[in-house]
Every structure is written in structure tokens, then in C-alpha cells.
């Protein structure tokens, strides 16, 4: 049975909004020209490829359903599991189901902790036990290297095929749009494919990136964390944008007491330590949710609402930067002569704000949105580390890093969970930052159209 979590609704609404914006940009030269300029930068194209890979995983993870339980004899209605799964879970069923007992190193065949094992002769000994799933197909552990190599090669072969197909597609695209640096896209796709191919080939029979404390596959956790990061990075802007745009342009346009009031609000808000404010809000929210457990029928729903409330809290505490930028720009714009000409026509203030001010600050909004994204992704990690982030049952890079606090102090050290979270997040934030740079350059008003 398809099941919509509240955040799914918002995510798909955002997708629709972005599609509508794209269509709108396509029609208006003042918007399509800067975007075309963005995609003339090789770094932007490459990072867009990486971001779309993340996005694809995140979107797959946003199609939820509740699996049907095996029909009980005599039951007329179909019963559904209380567990909410996504399309991504379905695709990664192999990874999800194969939990070990506890830690195991990447590609290991044996556990990371010694256990009491029963030898074939009936004797007991303390040894590293074989994993239940990782490398279980191996009759002889001596074949490990050969098996891994075989799988890596198979992965490469599949990747090479996919790459060739993609190169064909690029050739067609290049003819239609010769100004876009397609080679950068090709390289980025190549790197992604040659990483993903072996990864999936290995992950069917090994724990490619090891397992965590309770034996879950770290690779699976990392993939599941992507959605959380994306939701935090994008849904937050849904809250942030209306507040920031509304208050910022109003302060700059009306001035006088409106400006004073809005400035006082955001200076006050800015002078409270951000983490403290968020922590207080999140803790209050937790209490409310726990008191009213009856609001939520499923655990997944509760975790999801917590995620959304976190987005809202982040949004309400981080609009000040955008508002300040927009106030300054609006102050400048409202002195311009076309605004005065509109006044001379007796155009209403609301119309002037919507038709003259807003389109002319849109580049700042776009730049701020893209630049904020990486900041928000990192903020989530910090907050979850402090313990005021997402629900513990929600997979996120923050919770992975939080868990790694204990693992790093272990002897021998468990490094893979932290390293995985670090690598996945680095790739996401780096791509987002590179893309943001290109967007800023593309929308720079000093570059004349």
C-alpha cells in the first residue's frame, strides 16, 4: 500500500516547484540566460551530475509504502505492516536484511569482535566468528582475494557498458547543445559509474563498508542518510524563503518603523547563539511529541514529523542572513528610477514589490538558496552530534557521526562508519558548494546579459 509521509509530500511538491521554475525560466530570457551561463562552467556540470546522483537516491527513498503482511486465514481485510519502506529499501533488500551481530570491517568475512565459538569437535574457543552474510558464499576463506577481484572486475565491466551507453547519449546532446562542457559531465558520470559498479557488485555478498554496532550495513546506512540530508537542505528553504524574502524586501521598501522593527527582530535573533536556540526549540518539540504519542500511528511517522519540525526550526532561525541581504538590495533598488516611475503611475505597493522588486532580487535568492544548502546539511550533522537533531531512528550522517564518537575511542578503532559518513557528506557538500559558486558567477549582476 503506498504511504505518504509528510516529508514525502513536501519533497515532491518541491520537485514540482523546481520543474515549474525551470519551465518559467525557459520562457524568460532574463532567467534562462544566467542559467545557461551556469551550465557553461565545467565545475558546475560535474557537480550537477554528482548532485543528481544524490537526488535520484533521495527521491527513490521518498516513495514510501507499507508492505502487505501474509494474509491470515479468515481475515477479510488485508493487513499491512507497521513498517514503512521506500522504493530504495526495496532495491537494497539485499543490504537491508543482512544484519550481522555487531561490528565487522569493510569486506570482512569474520566479525570484528571475538566470541565464544563452538569448534567442529565440540570444543569451545574464543575466536573471530565467521559472519552470517559477509562472504558467506566462500567455502574457503583463502579464496577471498580472488572472489573480491572477480566481483570488482564484473562491476567494472557493467560500469564500462553503462559508460559507453552514456557516451552515446552525450554525443547526441553535444550536437544539440554544443556550448555545454559535456566532457565534464562524461568524466563525472564515469567516476560515479566506476565507483558504483564495483560497489554494488561487492555489496551483494559482502559488507562493502563494514557494519555498525548492531550489525547494520554501513553502506546501506549511508545511502539512507542521503534523503535526510536533502530534506534538511531543501525543505528548510521552504520555511526560510517566505520569511526572509517577505521581511527583507518589506524592511528595505517601506523603511521607517517597519524597517526598524524588522531590523530589531533579526539583530536580536542573530545575537542568540544559534545552537542554543535550536536546541531549546528541539527539546520543547520533543516533549510535545512525547506527550502526544497518540497523534502518530506509526513510529516512522513520528520520526518524520520530528525531521520536518527540525527543518522548520532551522528555517526560522536562519532567515536573518537572507533578509539582511535583501533589505540592502531593496534599499538600493527602491531608489532606482523605474520604481519612482511606478510611483508616478500610482502603482500599488504590493504590485511594486511583486513586479519590480522581487524579480530584481531573485538572483540573490537563488544564490543564497544554493549556498545555504551545504550549510544546512552540515548544521544537521552538528545538531545530531550534539543530540538535538533528528530522531535516533532516522538514518542521517549526523547520527552516524554521533555513533562514531564511541567507536573512535575503541581499541582497535572502528573507523569505517565515520569515514563513510565523512566521504558521502564531503562529496555532497563539495558538489553543492562548487555548484553554488557557478550559480553565483552566472547570476552576478555585474556580468551584463
Amino acid at each position: 500500500m503506498p504511504y505518504l509521509l509528510p516529508s514525502d509530500v513536501l519533497v515532491w511538491l518541491l520537485v514540482a516547484a523546481v520543474a515549474a521554475y525551470g519551465w518559467y525560466c525557459h520562457r524568460y530570457a532574463h532567467l534562462s540566460v544566467p542559467w545557461a551561463r551556469v551550465f557553461r562552467s565545467p565545475a558546475a556540470v560535474a557537480s550537477a551530475v554528482v548532485l543528481s546522483a544524490y537526488l535520484a537516491i533521495g527521491l527513490l527513498d521518498s516513495l514510501h509504502f507499507r508492505p502487505a503482511l501474509p494474509a491470515k486465514p479468515g481475515a477479510t481485510e488485508k493487513a499491512y505492516s507497521t513498517e514503512v519502506l521506500s522504493m530504495l529499501d526495496l532495491g537494497l533488500a539485499q543490504l537491508r536484511g543482512r544484519a550481522e551481530k555487531t561490528y565487522s570491517a569493510p569486506l570482512a568475512t569474520r566479525s570484528y569482535a571475538k566470541e565464544q565459538v563452538e569448534l567442529p569437535g565440540g570444543k569451545q574457543a574464543r575466536d573471530f566468528p565467521r559472519l552470517r552474510f559477509g562472504g558467506a558464499q566462500l567455502q574457503d576463506e583463502a579464496d577471498w582475494a580472488e572472489d573480491v577481484a572477480r566481483r570488482v572486475l564484473a562491476g567494472f565491466a557493467v560500469a564500462a557498458l553503462a559508460f559507453a551507453a552514456f557516451a552515446f547519449l552525450i554525443r547526441w546532446l553535444r550536437r544539440r547543445r554544443p556550448e555545454v562542457p559535456w566532457n565534464a559531465a562524461l568524466v563525472a558520470v564515469g567516476v560515479l559509474l566506476f565507483l558504483a559498479g564495483p560497489a554494488f557488485a561487492l555489496s551483494t555478498h559482502y559488507h562493502m563498508l563494514g557494519t555498525d554496532k548492531v550489525g547494520q550495513d554501513v553502506f546501506y546506512l549511508a545511502l539512507k542518510s542521503i534523503r535526510t540530508s536533502l530534506v534538511i537542505g531543501t525543505v528548510t528553504t521552504l520555511v526560510l524563503l517566505p520569511v526572509g524574502i517577505g521581511l527583507g524586501t518589506m524592511a528595505g521598501y517601506f523603511r521607517g518603523w517597519v524597517d526598524d522593527l524588522i531590523q530589531y527582530v533579526y539583530t536580536t535573533l542573530n545575537s542568540i547563539p544559534g545552537v542554543l536556540l535550536i536546541a531549546a526549540a528541539v527539546l520543547m518539540m520533543q516533549v510535545v511529541i512525547e506527550r502526544n504519542a497518540e497523534w502518530f500511528s506509526l513510529a516512522a511517522q513520528r520520526a518524520d514529523v520530528r525531521l520536518l519540525v527540525l527543518c522548520a526550526i532551522l528555517g526560522f532561525t536562519s532567515w536573518t542572513g537572507l533578509a539582511r541581504l535583501l533589505r540592502g538590495e531593496t534599499l538600493k533598488l527602491s531608489q532606482l528610477e523605474y520604481i519612482q516611475a511606478a510611483h508616478a503611475f500610482g502603482v500599488r505597493d504590493s504590485h511594486i514589490l511583486a513586479r519590480h522588486i522581487l524579480p530584481n532580487v531573485s538572483h540573490i535568492v537563488i544564490i543564497a538558496m544554493v549556498m545555504d544548502f551545504s550549510g544546512l546539511v552540515l548544521a544537521e550533522a552538528v545538531l545530531s552530534y550534539v543530540g538535538v537533531g533528528v530522531d535516533p531512528s532516522t538514518n542521517s550522517f549526523g547520527t552516524m557521526i554521533n555513533a562514531a564518537r564511541m567507536e573512535m575511542s575503541r581499541e582497535p578503532v572502528v573507523w569505517w562508519a565515520l569515514a563513510t559518513a565523512f566521504t558521502f557528506m564531503l562529496a555532497l557538500v563539495l558538489a553543492a558548494n562548487l555548484f553554488a559558486d557557478a550559480v553565483r558567477d552566472g547570476f552576478d549582476p555585474r556580468v551584463r546579459m
Binding site: H30, A341, G346, V347
Partner: protein, 689 residues
């Protein structure tokens, strides 16, 4: 033979642009002689500034010098030294030491975090042997020499504490510090007011004479050329098209482009007639040329002009030495001197003016901006931007409001439209006082009064298409029955301002400056106004484009009977276009009357000084166009603390002790003329007794 100090030959400079290589300077030859002022004239985009920057090797990053030689000669270097071949380190010793440059915008050319004295001593330390106390002494001397009053105190001040004129003087002091042989002045007075401009031009002329310095003066203003230069070169599309001695040039310009430039200048004798315009635009400099660069815009072009590149030739049978022209026509001999139209009779303007009904009358309009300080924003003073202005604007007439920047003319125009809320006074329109109207009632009368702004790049929303721009006012004020009706009106408007119909679907950035100004005019016309406030509508445009816009405004007035309040500092436009003129000084009107009378016979000492400061193009050969210049000392005082008594008395050459006591009341003279000056009250009292 006069010694040449700088010889430029075959200079070619190109800029890399997204549309390809732009040949901004394409084979320029200049010879600069010792102690002369050589003017390089041209419209924007002609490559005159690029030439100057190439000489200094200060090109922007995308620019490079493709070819040519710049020979700098000096007493020790008779053969000359090619500046383009010097290594950068040696070039740094030339810049400032041998060749100095001053720029257009004094506000950005000085470092805001260094004191004025420091900026001068920096140059001295770099280029002279002086050190320690001697440097400081020399800096003081220099600041004194460029006419900075109280140089000792000014030395310790920062650029923001100085006015524009003083900053330009500091720039000149910096440029002169190392006693260069050559001074390149790139539009040195464009950012300044006329009275300040006169001061700076005088200073440059004086320094040139004292130091035998050669000046390469780059300007677009033929009036400045007439006042300053000994020789003139006209640039067009990257090439020099004419070189001549000043007097010969103004007597009979030889190149069709130069001739056209003169014809496009507004002047009193052209009143009533259309200004001649140069059709079309400067050709793009990215494509190679097969023929003359001016051919598309030239009325005299013939077949050969399209096919053969003209060379810079000396005119046969021309007695005037050193005269070069780039035109095939001149191979047959020099062009005749232009016909000089005698000034048209302008009698009866006042009578006609009194007959036409008043549209708007402004009564003692005041706009005061409070100066607030402290936590509670207490008002500690008032900036009296407009301080009691009374005007009457009549149907179908043009009233020019003239004054220097900061005198409050723009504020007065905007307060009239209620774009700025007036502090006091009445604006009576159609029998109703606008200041008493509610917001809603005001909206209804908005359509009758419109405004055209100075900068056509800032006055159109870059995110809106022309159609939306034109429709905005109509929608807001309910002009036109429905969208279809409005679309029909828009087509009509475009035809009126001379733009093609497809302009509707385009964005402002696709138009040139003149076309944008046409859109702005169409936008104002869309709501059928009776009065248009024109706030310096041509000051950002080139002379040839200015002529088009002035013609358009004039023909619209004749056809539609619109009244204009024309705010400007350009006296020649006033002479050409205005019926009446009001001169403003520090928030008040000092003189008001029929345009021809006020301009021909100014009564108020300020009007006299203002008119004399305007560098004029000689109206007829032999006649020196320059009025005797009345030099005003100092600058416009702050409107926050106007001087007691007559605001003008601290600068007035005719000031008396009486002037400091009370502001003189307006005295009505004959034919509706008023003057606010003690001189006339005195004479009236004397005649009556």
C-alpha cells in the same frame, strides 16, 4: 618648428569580448607638441579613452595593444623612447614622472583611507629625490598651486571630507607632483558642475602655460575644446577622422561626421527648427570594414565610400597647415564654412505664454529633510533642499529649471509630482491642491503628470518587456478599456516615439541608450499626461542621440500640447527648447523670466556667472563664443546651513554689506520677469525717488 613631445603612430588596441575581438583603437596617429593642449573629441565608444589608456599602458585585463609605437621625446631623449617596448618596471618610472593622467571621476580616483597629503607625498617619494620635511613642504606647495584654500589643514583631511571640485584639484596636484612633461586628462570635468568646471579648466590652462606642459585633453564637449585646445582631433569608431587647429576646425569642420556633430548641437539660433540628427549607430567594431566607417550614417556618401577605405589626407588647395581629414570628398578641396542661420525672431513668446492657460501652479513649495541624530532620532536640523519655490507651468509650454547639482531642482520636480512629500506649500493642478488629496484621489490625478528620468539604464526595469513596461501605467490608472485597446494604444505609442512594433516583445537591455529613452518617453505618454517633468533626460546621451530626443520632445509638444518642466544644467538645451527659464540656487529661484531674455541679458549675478561659465561653441566664424568668464570662488554651500541673508552673497562678485542681512525679496521687472537680488531693488528705489 615646435618641438614634439609625444608621437603616436599606428596605435591599435583591441579588447576581447564575448562577441569577438573588438578593435577599439584602430590605427591612431597623434603628435603632441610641447606646451600645447591637444583635444581628442568623440562620442562614447569612439575609442578616445582607450587611446589614452593605451598610451599609459593601463588597459583593462581584456585589452591588449596589437600594434603601433608611442615615442616619448625629451631633452635627454631626442630620438624618442618607445613606451610600448619598455618593460613594465621601466614603464612605472614613466607613469607619473613623465606622463601623468587625471581621470573623470575624482570620487573613485583617490584612496579613501589615506589623507590627501599622504596621497601627494606618495607620488613625490616615488618619483623625486625629496625626503622627509622637504616632501611635506613640496606637497603643501603643490596643493597651494592647484588652488586648494587652507592647504595646511586640507593636507590632514580624507577624501570624503572634500567636495568634488577639491578632489579633482587634489588629483591634479598628484599628477603634477613629479612635474611631468605630458598630462593626459580624461574627461576631467564631466562629473563637475559648470562653475566648478570653469575653475578646473582655468587651473589646467594656467598650469599648462606656467610649466610648458603638453595636455592631451579627452572630452566629448565641443565647448570645452573651444575654450581649451590649440589643436583638435576628432575620433570616430576607433579612427581619427579629422585633425585641425582649433580656429580652423570651428570655422569649417571638414569631415561629414564633424559637420554633423556641430549641426546636432542645440543652440538658440536653431529654435523652432528641428535639430539635425545623425541617423543610425556607430558600427560594431568587431567586423572588418570595407569602406568608410561613417558611410552608413553619412548624407554625402557615394559609391566609392562603400568600397574604399579613406586615408587621412591633407586637403589640397587648403592654406591651413597641418589639417588632415579622412574623407574621399575632401580630395577635391575643402568644404565651405557652414551657413550661419541668423537668430530667429523670438518676439511674442511672453505674450503667447500669458495667453495659454496654466496647468500647474506651485506656490512656495518647500521640501525639508530632517537631520536626525542620536538614539531617539531627534531632529537636530533641516536640509532645506527646496525652500520656497513658486512656478506656473502653462499648457504646451516648456519651463526650464536650471541650476547646479545640489541646488534642489530635481527635488523640486519630484515634489511637484508628489514622489517626495513636500514639507510645505501647494501644488495646484486643475484647480485642486494636490497636497490636500487623499491617496486614492491622488492616484486619479497621477496620470496627468509624468516624469522622464536622466539615466535610461536605471529608469526601465530590466526584468520587464517593453510591452509590460508600457502597460503598467495604463493598467494602474485604468487607461484603455481592455487589454486589446491597450495593445492598440501601445502600437500607436511606439509609432509616436519612433520605435518598431517588435520592440514590444524585447527587454530593455536589447536597446541602445537613445532607444531606451524613447521607451521611457512612451511609458510617460501612455497615460496621456498634460505635464511631463523631464529630469535631465539627455545628459547621459551623446550629442547626436540628444538631438534625436530633443526633436522628439519638441514634436510631441507641438502635436499633443504637453507642457514640460525641463530640469537641466545644460544651457544650450534651454536656449533651444525652453520658453521660460527659472534659475535655482540653493533651494530658491533667483531669477525667472522668458528664456531668450534671461539668457541674453541675465540680471542676477548668479545667472550671469552660471551662463559665463558654460564653455560655448563659437556661433559664427571670427566671433569668439566665449562670454567673459565671471569666476565664482568656492562651491555651493550646504543646504543644511545656508548662508545668512542672500544665499549667494559669499560667492557673489557684486556683494554688498546689505546682502548678508536678509534674503532679498523677488522683484518684478518688465514682461513677467522676477529677480531676487538687492541690486534691482536698489535701482528700482532709486528710479522711483
Amino acid at each position: 618648428m615646435i618641438e614634439s613631445v609625444l608621437q603616436v603612430s599606428g596605435l591599435k588596441t583591441s579588447l576581447d569580448t564575448p562577441r569577438g575581438e573588438l578593435r577599439a583603437v584602430d590605427g591612431v596617429d597623434i603628435e603632441l607638441r610641447k606646451g600645447e593642449c591637444f583635444a581628442l573629441v568623440g562620442e562614447s565608444g569612439s575609442g578616445k579613452s582607450m587611446t589614452a589608456l593605451s598610451l599609459m599602458r593601463l588597459l583593462p585585463e581584456t585589452g591588449r595593444i596589437a600594434d603601433g609605437r608611442v615615442l616619448l621625446r625629451g631633452p635627454d631623449l631626442l630620438a624618442g623612447q618607445d613606451l610600448l617596448a619598455l618593460p613594465e618596471a621601466a614603464m612605472r618610472a614613466v607613469r607619473g614622472r613623465r606622463v601623468a593622467m587625471i581621470f573623470q571621476e575624482p570620487a573613485t580616483a583617490l584612496n579613501p583611507v589615506l589623507t590627501v597629503g599622504r596621497q601627494v607625498t606618495e607620488v613625490l617619494e616615488r618619483h623625486t629625490q625629496l625626503a622627509g620635511e622637504a616632501v611635506r613642504k613640496r606637497a603643501l606647495e603643490l596643493l597651494d598651486a592647484v588652488g586648494i584654500p587652507d592647504a595646511g589643514r586640507r593636507c590632514e583631511e580624507y577624501p570624503f571630507q572634500l567636495s568634488g571640485g577639491l578632489k579633482q584639484r587634489v588629483m591634479i596636484a598628484c599628477a603634477l607632483a613629479a612635474e611631468p612633461e605630458i598630462l593626459i586628462a580624461d574627461e576631467p570635468t564631466t562629473a563637475l558642475d559648470v562653475t566648478i568646471q570653469a575653475q578646473i579648466l582655468d587651473l589646467l590652462a594656467k598650469l599648462q602655460a606656467e610649466r610648458e606642459m603638453a595636455i592631451l585633453l579627452i572630452t566629448h564637449d565641443l565647448g570645452i575644446v573651444a575654450r581649451m585646445a590649440q589643436r583638435v582631433a576628432v575620433m570616430y569608431a576607433g579612427e581619427i577622422v579629422e585633425v585641425a587647429e582649433r580656429d580652423a576646425f570651428f570655422a569649417a569642420p571638414q569631415h561629414p561626421y564633424a559637420q554633423k556633430l556641430f549641426e546636432a548641437l542645440p543652440a538658440p539660433q536653431k529654435r523652432g527648427a528641428e535639430l539635425s540628427v545623425i541617423a543610425g549607430q556607430v558600427p560594431p567594431l568587431t567586423a572588418p570594414f570595407a569602406g568608410c566607417r561613417f558611410v552608413e550614417r553619412c548624407d554625402l556618401a557615394f559609391k566609392r565610400c562603400h568600397e574604399e577605405l579613406p586615408r587621412l589626407i591633407a586637403i589640397p588647395a587648403d592654406v591651413m597647415a597641418g589639417r588632415l581629414v579622412r574623407c574621399h570628398l575632401r580630395e577635391q578641396g575643402p568644404a565651405p564654412a557652414p551657413r550661419h542661420v541668423p537668430p530667429m525672431a523670438t518676439e511674442g513668446t511672453v505674450i503667447a505664454a500669458e495667453r495659454s492657460p496654466a496647468i500647474v501652479s506651485v506656490e512656495s513649495l518647500k521640501v525639508h529633510f530632517p537631520i536626525r541624530k542620536g538614539v531617539f532620532k531627534r531632529t537636530v536640523g533641516q536640509v532645506r533642499a527646496v525652500d520656497g519655490v513658486s512656478l506656473t507651468i502653462r499648457q504646451g509650454r516648456t519651463l526650464a529649471l536650471v541650476g547646479e547639482s545640489g541646488c534642489g531642482k530635481t527635488t523640486a520636480g519630484k515634489a511637484l509630482l508628489r514622489l517626495i512629500l513636500p514639507t510645505e506649500g501647494r501644488v495646484v493642478f486643475a484647480g485642486r491642491d494636490l497636497s490636500s488629496l487623499s491617496r486614492r484621489a491622488l492616484r486619479e490625478s497621477r496620470g496627468a503628470m509624468q516624469i522622464i528620468f536622466q539615466d535610461p539604464y536605471a529608469s526601465l526595469n530590466p526584468r520587464m518587456r517593453t510591452a509590460d513596461i508600457l502597460a503598467e501605467g495604463m493598467r494602474s490608472l485604468g487607461v484603455g478599456r481592455d487589454e486589446k485597446d491597450r495593445a492598440r494604444r501601445m502600437a500607436q505609442l511606439l509609432a509616436q516615439v519612433g520605435l518598431p512594433l517588435e520592440a514590444l516583445q524585447r527587454y530593455p537591455h536589447e536597446f541602445s541608450g537613445g532607444q531606451r529613452q524613447r521607451i521611457a518617453i512612451a511609458r510617460a505618454l501612455a497615460v496621456e499626461p498634460k505635464l511631463i517633468v523631464c529630469d535631465e533626460p539627455t545628459s547621459a546621451l551623446d550629442v547626436s542621440v540628444q538631438a534625436q530626443i530633443l526633436n522628439l520632445l519638441k514634436s510631441l509638444q507641438e502635436r499633443l500640447g504637453i507642457a514640460y518642466l525641463f530640469i537641466t544644467h545644460n544651457i544650450s538645451i534651454v536656449e533651444y527648447l525652453a520658453h521660460e527659464v527659472a534659475v535655482m540656487y540653493l533651494g530658491r529661484i533667483v531669477e525667472h523670466g522668458a528664456a531668450d531674455e534671461v539668457l541674453a541679458n541675465p540680471k542676477h549675478p548668479y545667472t550671469e556667472a552660471l551662463l559665463s561659465a558654460v564653455p560655448a561653441v563659437p556661433a559664427a566664424p571670427g566671433v569668439d563664443g566665449q562670454r567673459e568668464i565671471i569666476r565664482l570662488s568656492g562651491e555651493l554651500p550646504s543646504p543644511a546651513q545656508p548662508p545668512p541673508g542672500c544665499h549667494f552673497h559669499p560667492r557673489c562678485p557684486k556683494a554688498m554689506s546689505e546682502c548678508a542681512q536678509a534674503y532679498p525679496a523677488a522683484v518684478a521687472l518688465e514682461r513677467g520677469r522676477t529677480v531676487s537680488c538687492v541690486l534691482y531693488r536698489a535701482s528700482k528705489a532709486a528710479s522711483s525717488s
